[in-house]
Symmetry: C2
Subunit: 277 residues, 2 copies
């Protein structure tokens, strides 16, 4: 078969792009909230795109999903009630329910079409959504958080980039609502873009989280399909410290392990400077 000459090219910022050879377009639709496309790539299997930005691929999704879920969930000694804001593909939920302590995991995703597309085209990512402990809510995550004070041990914010529908998920008032929605020893983590190209955002979000929670920590992971391949996550915690984790409770992971948990917390000097560490 001749090689396809179709390329998906994401302009990651105005000066930087990533290109993925596309074997075919599998699905395209305009949802109520965004443009949603699914492609078959030659390198990374199927690719989910929202508003032109890479969300996830079959072959590298494990890094982002494991790292946004397992670093905070292991930081909490006994997470029973977990909320995922965004994350309609289900990848974070799949990782959350690997923790035996979890009794209830709520997914609050604003765009029901993302959930449906993931179930259809990324069944291995969406697998956890049918688990009896999982409560899928097609709602505005900001409002959901405001309406559920004191309910969660861990809240994970799996947002798109800080433009369009996700802007509110990067605001100080949202982190304050998250603080209120957490139990007295609860903690949160959010995806917070690349330390190489989103320095202003990271500095601002880290500052807002550090003013809202007594403990704030940035951590990083290798995500090849996101800009620069270096991705950051910001944790805010009322009591528990990620540095104190001594053992891992889940075993079927492709990226996360106890060494990686602590390695992710070790920041290069230029990133330490960003967050004043």
């Amino acid at each position: 078969m001749a090689q396809s000459n179709l390329w998906f090219t994401e302009l990651q910022n105005e000066n930087l792009s990533i290109g993925l050879r596309i074997e075919k377009t599998i699905h395209s639709e305009r949802t109520e909230f965004q443009q949603l496309d699914v492609y078959q790539t030659a390198q990374y299997g199927k690719l989910l795109v929202l508003d032109g930005c890479v969300m996830t691929t079959d072959k590298d999704e494990f890094v982002y999903h494991e790292m946004l879920a397992h670093v905070p969930l292991h930081t909490h000694p006994n997470p029973k009630s977990v909320l995922v804001v965004g994350g309609g593909d289900g990848g974070i939920i799949r990782e959350v329910i690997k923790h035996p302590s979890v009794e209830r995991a709520v997914l609050a995703e604003i765009d029901g079409r993302v959930i449906e597309a993931s179930k259809t085209y990324f069944p291995q990512i969406a697998a956890g959504l049918s688990d009896p402990r999982v409560d899928v809510q097609v709602v505005d995550g900001i409002r959901y958080v405001e309406e559920h004070p004191g309910e969660f041990d861990v809240i994970l914010i799996d947002s798109t980039d800080p433009v369009g529908p996700a802007v509110g998920l990067f605001s100080k008032s949202f982190y304050e609502s998250v603080h209120t929605a957490l139990k007295p020893d609860g903690l949160m983590a959010a995806q917070t873009e690349s330390p190489f190209v989103n320095q202003e955002l990271i500095r601002r979000v880290y500052g807002d989280v550090a003013r809202t929670f007594p403990i704030a920590k940035l951590y990083v992971a290798f995500v090849p399909t996101y800009p620069t391949g270096m991705w950051s996550f910001t944790m805010g915690s009322k009591v528990h410290r990620p540095e104190d984790v001594k053992a891992v409770r889940v075993e079927d992971t492709k990226y996360y392990n106890l060494g990686i948990h602590h390695a992710a917390l070790a920041l290069p000097n230029f990133v330490k400077e960003l967050v004043g560490e």
Copy 2:
């Protein structure tokens, strides 16, 4: 000024590309060994390209150069005599001579035009090449290593990709020559591509190094302009272990620190599997 519409696009493999907006072409030549281009990028400052592949940029060069130099140099308790094979831009040498114990650093680069281009267009990277401890040799690194048995504490292999002039630098017979060129407690490190896309190469090189040296260790760093952003280095050591490093001897680094030294040695599960760790 209108934004340039010129892009440098590197086909990182047949299915994957990175694009950098180019403000202007600064220099282009065909050397005896390869095509050499220098561009001004909008994102990363000046960019050095050899045979179409990104070698280094002003803004992210510090990661690769610090990590190929400082992890092995700190692993050796008292490195005095260091050889860099390849690395004509001078970035590794600049980091090597930050170590106060280093009395002599030899650069064995096959293409003298790379050295000259770096001195002209990347003076902050080439800065160390004029240090009195540095001996710049425009020679075939493979032959140089063969002709200097028992001479070095540390040998660093800063090669281009394993195609064209650099193929020999990824062979078992070369690692054996390196072993012979090292003192009885010497050690080596080489750049060994991305764990996401060069898995066969990493598996083979790691195996060859592990069969040549009693101690072999893979480590990783975030290099945004290299394929997938996750880059690996393979260390081979006769006596000293990178895990044993307790303190850092250099302070003016932008990436490397003691936490990063150990974090770089912590591998994700899928990379551990590659090297049988």
